[in-house]
Symmetry: C2
Subunit: 626 residues, 2 copies
């Protein structure tokens, strides 16, 4: 058999048979070359340089490679068959620049994960070469890969059986630490991106060889049994001696189960998952690691750790590859955590000349404003109302949830439901639609009160509280009317006022006016589902033309995927987290005033929302701020 | 408060009060200076150099330090009180060269363990210094200790509570990895040296601040339920699907319990044990880590790993400091493992011009022969007979065990027992005495047969087997006579023949004759207890004058202690393990012949044992080899 060594990586792979295609050897070495033509010797992109060994010039070489380059040893890789030892150089321009398109077209990244595959041939021992298994492997990897490998116990335990079965083995390496050894036939490597939301946990199973997402699963965050929002979970952790441990175990089990479901649906062996990248707000991040959260919620709002953290997955009770790692993106401060760094990795605010605002609407909302001159971020305790929680008929986006609706001037309601089921309740986007519409048609006044004296079968008083009927008894799955109550409206007002106040303080901090905003990026599952028109109509964020609002999906999750697929993105994230200006709203005396102004629908100062106000009934228009 | 920085280490410590004694600050910094006088300003050994800051010259300085050195800033550390910031240099010659004398005077080492203590002051966060706990600590340790710290999860979880209680904390560092954080008051650090014998496991609890051994406990190796010797354990591991795991769990639990007992008896918190150094033969080593042992016992006798291994203690199921490590010395090959490297660390054969033989007699015996020109080692499967196992009345060295005996020409027996109890059985040293004496007085012939036709009440036949009565019925604790049987003699002959054959093949390999041997070092609990005269009389190793035999105690355990107390010894051990010439007896065609010759007592060629033969009865002397 012949040996092919690739420069500058130093990777060496043996041929399996005389005359084997170089392309097969390249694949075993984990090297991808450009081949627009698909390896048919037509595009001339897969050029390599023969540094040692004899590779005859073919007709295709002559056709596509200039004479002087041929003389220097340049050849087309796709036509080479290997008959003898050789050393080949891979020029930078021939390396395939793998662009991975995540499901949202806004995001793409180069495939260069932190874990990689190597095939090595380890000589057998003999009475004249009485050298331990690990030491023989170390010698070969140091000579051929130029890597000083580190072998953790879990991998070491697998080594002797593999080496006695075959001299050729595969290493899964993470910066020299060997996470797995397998037979040379396999090349499976998977990773998991996790978005730990306060309410919902989403797990993406990614193929690290191809870059595709092969499965997605999500679940309610089980910590919700100990509180809907970040503050109530921190309180639970502080008041119970085992509180932090309980919450840590809950979230780890949830992630472990979701990974199991992803692997089952994609037919992937859980043992082949070698890396998890997780994002979440600072509290979710700390609870995932079992870190004390008591200082997060009080001045000076300092996390235990802000830098990126990596630990072995088994330390957190997650059972994937035995020596696999969990990596989290860095936190900023307060509750602006790894999830928002994920959002920023996905929208790259710091690279744009345009001034952009990225909003992740959630139980804890994070907002950033920035451009090439800098980025500022804040977090707002919006609570879960905008997502449909704490709402009388609020429900998850499941069958029968009303997801969008409009209300005519005669108060008649048109709505759509998920999976076209009979209505059971309202998901968050419908709640935002409803209140925005109820204000537009004058059922709700700028203070958020359901007006007295309106005569309509849809306006009722039950249990002493005014309600507006979205779906009447006869229409619903339960036989009970689906309504919006006065209390629902108040919950939503508080939530949207916190978001709006945060956004405007951040804009003031960066010296940005409403007119300066070139783009508003809505991140998060909710941000993706909400109607931007209704969101502006309610006053969740400043009014801009609808063309300037872009919904970018679960950008926090996309950021986690990017950091999973491309290790350099981790350095970018670390740099970004250090350079971001964090604005702590609790330390801002003007916050309270901004909040009270924003409790109005859409705002106490209606002139900030000219387009919204042009559409509302006359009775809701006021001349000047109250 | 003032800040004192020490060069060249860069350690910086703050004073606790104005005018604090520098000696107290030095102690907090973990720096020991020479002070023969006990710090009374009399010996002049604790010289330091003031590089920055003002330290007035005292009368004692003038008395003990030459004028030109005073002008260079040299002062006596013991008289300095700290009133302002200063930078002090610690000259090499002032550093205390802590010699630790292990219980055996043969061994001493410098106290310089791999874990060390640092006290650091970490500034509190504020709204203007909103920096995470870990990041503030990193900044300080990088500035003051010039160390980039790594903080594992277990330690990180403790950090916030400590930092909120006090700005001054203590770090327990292992090459930059922070194994523990505690309040600045504590300085306790303990380590454990473990000798994993095939039969007996010994645990030494060592104080890493003072260097003393504070507790020792030992137990039977629980793996013994799956076989007495190395080969039967390997066979068990191969034949049972969970065999390796079962043996791994047994030994880890045993060590965990022994550490618990040591900690209980010494009043030490198990959480303050930060490092374990373990030694054992290659099979014991592999089973401790749960590594495959199937290749150890067959050609080419290659271990899974020969180099030193370190893993977290929790990976092995040992519950000490949460982030503590287990470190094992390197293996050589075959069954010459970390335990024998421990023996060599303790006797330092490679540093001596004299030719020395180190013998660790055990179920698996290891032998080395060497001097400055090189060291060769081998292992012999002696079996447990020399330790009293597989012997009819063999027992452990417990109350009532006969430990030494002599036999008069009229076959009357004098013996001593442990704790002066009534005899219950024979421990290994008494078995060796007995057979050596029985040969000397002519009860046993050179073939090892109990002679027929001798008339004595002590010579009996029971169950068709000849026996010699060591203690008659009336003397013993059980009312049953304690005897040596014909089968016992045969077991011991096989064991000693293996040791002797190994020793002579090794000598031949090094070109060393019996007369060249300057010293024979007997290591191991058994080697320490055995009578050298009886051992030579039986022919366990070559005859040398008794003055050339030295018993050095549990040298494998001493080697483990050395590697625990002095990190440089680890590099020496690694170098040694690579340079040792390993002699594989199983690959030596002459082994069988040597073994058969050595089955005779003391040897087929009696002229090799002139001193022994001069004492034996005429009937046992033969003129020439049979």
């Amino acid at each position: 058999m012949s040996r092919v060594r690739f420069e500058p990586s130093g990777i060496t792979v043996e041929s399996n048979s005389d005359g084997e295609h170089l392309s097969d050897i390249l694949e075993r070495a984990g090297i991808s070359l450009e081949k627009v033509c698909g390896g048919r010797g037509k595009c001339g992109r897969c050029r390599i340089v023969v540094r040692d060994g004899s590779v005859p010039v073919t007709d295709k070489d002559k056709e596509l490679i200039p004479q002087e380059d041929l003389a220097q040893g340049m050849r087309l890789a796709c036509v080479i068959r290997v008959h003898s030892d050789m050393v080949l150089e891979i020029p930078k321009e021939s390396e395939r620049n793998e662009q991975v398109i995540l499901e949202d077209a806004y995001v793409q990244t180069k495939l260069s994960p932190v874990v990689s595959n190597f095939i090595l041939k380890v000589p057998a021992p003999s009475l004249h070469y009485q050298v331990g298994d690990l030491e023989r492997l170390r010698t070969v990897s140091s000579q051929r890969l130029r890597v000083e490998i580190r072998m953790p116990l879990g991998t070491l335990r697998k080594l002797p059986n593999l080496l006695s079965a075959s001299e050729q083995i595969r290493l899964v390496s993470r910066g020299g630490e060997i996470l797995d050894v397998t037979s040379a036939n396999g090349n499976e490597m998977f990773g998991v991106a996790v978005d730990i939301g306060t309410t919902t946990v989403v797990v993406y199973l990614m193929d690290l060889v191809g870059g595709e997402c092969v499965a997605v699963e999500s679940k309610m965050n089980p910590q919700i049994t100990h509180g809907d929002d970040v503050i109530s979970r921190i309180t639970f952790a502080m008041r119970n001696p085992d509180g932090t441990t309980i919450l840590q175990t809950q979230i780890s089990q949830c992630i472990d189960e979701l990974i199991g479901e992803c692997c089952a649906s994609a037919g992937v062996d859980k043992e082949k998952v070698y890396e998890i990248v997780a994002v979440g707000n600072t509290a979710m991040h700390h609870l995932f690691f079992g870190l004390d959260t008591s200082h997060l919620g009080r001045s000076p709002f300092v996390p235990v750790v802000a830098d990126a953290v990596e630990v072995k997955s088994h330390e957190l009770g997650i059972n994937i590859g035995e020596e696999a790692y969990v990596y989290t993106l860095p936190n900023v401060a307060g509750f602006v955590g790894a999830d928002h760094i994920g959002v920023l990795l996905a929208c790259r605010l710091w690279e744009s000349d345009e001034t952009r605002m990225a909003i992740d609407i959630g139980t804890n909302g994070e907002i950033s404003v920035g451009n090439t001159s800098g980025v500022a971020s804040t977090s707002c305790a919006a609570g879960p109302a905008l997502e449909g929680a704490n709402i009388r008929f609020g429900m998850r986006a499941a069958t029968g949830a009303i997801d969008h609706l409009s209300i005519a001037d005669d108060f008649e309601v048109s709505y759509t439901t998920i999976s076209k089921g009979k209505p059971r309740g309202l998901c968050g986007s419908a709640v935002v639609d409803a209140i925005s519409e109820l204000f537009r048609v004058g059922v709700i006044d700028p203070n958020g009160r359901i007006r007295k004296g309106l005569v309509s079968p849809r306006i009722r008083i039950a249990n002493g509280e005014s309600q507006f009927v979205i779906a009447i008894e006869q229409e619903t799955a339960t036989g009970e009317a689906v309504t919006i109550t006065q209390k629902d409206v108040s919950e939503v007002q508080c939530a949207k006022a916190a978001m709006y106040a945060g956004a405007t303080i951040l804009m003031e901090d960066r010296g940005v006016t409403q007119d300066d905003l070139d783009l508003i990026l809505l991140a998060g599952a909710f941000g993706n589902y909400i109607s931007p028109k209704s969101a502006i109509g309610l006053g969740i964020f400043p009014e801009v033309p609808l063309s300037k609002v872009k919904q970018i999906g679960n950008a926090a999750g996309s950021g986690a995927k990017i950091a999973l697929l491309n290790q350099k993105a981790r350095d970018e994230a670390t740099k970004l987290a250090r350079e971001i200006r964090f604005v702590e709203l609790a330390a801002r005396p003007e916050f309270q005033e901004r909040f009270f102004q924003a409790l109005y629908i859409p705002h106490q100062n209606q002139s900030l929302f000219p387009e919204v106000m042009s559409k509302v009934v006359e009775s809701n228009k006021v001349d000047r701020p109250a």
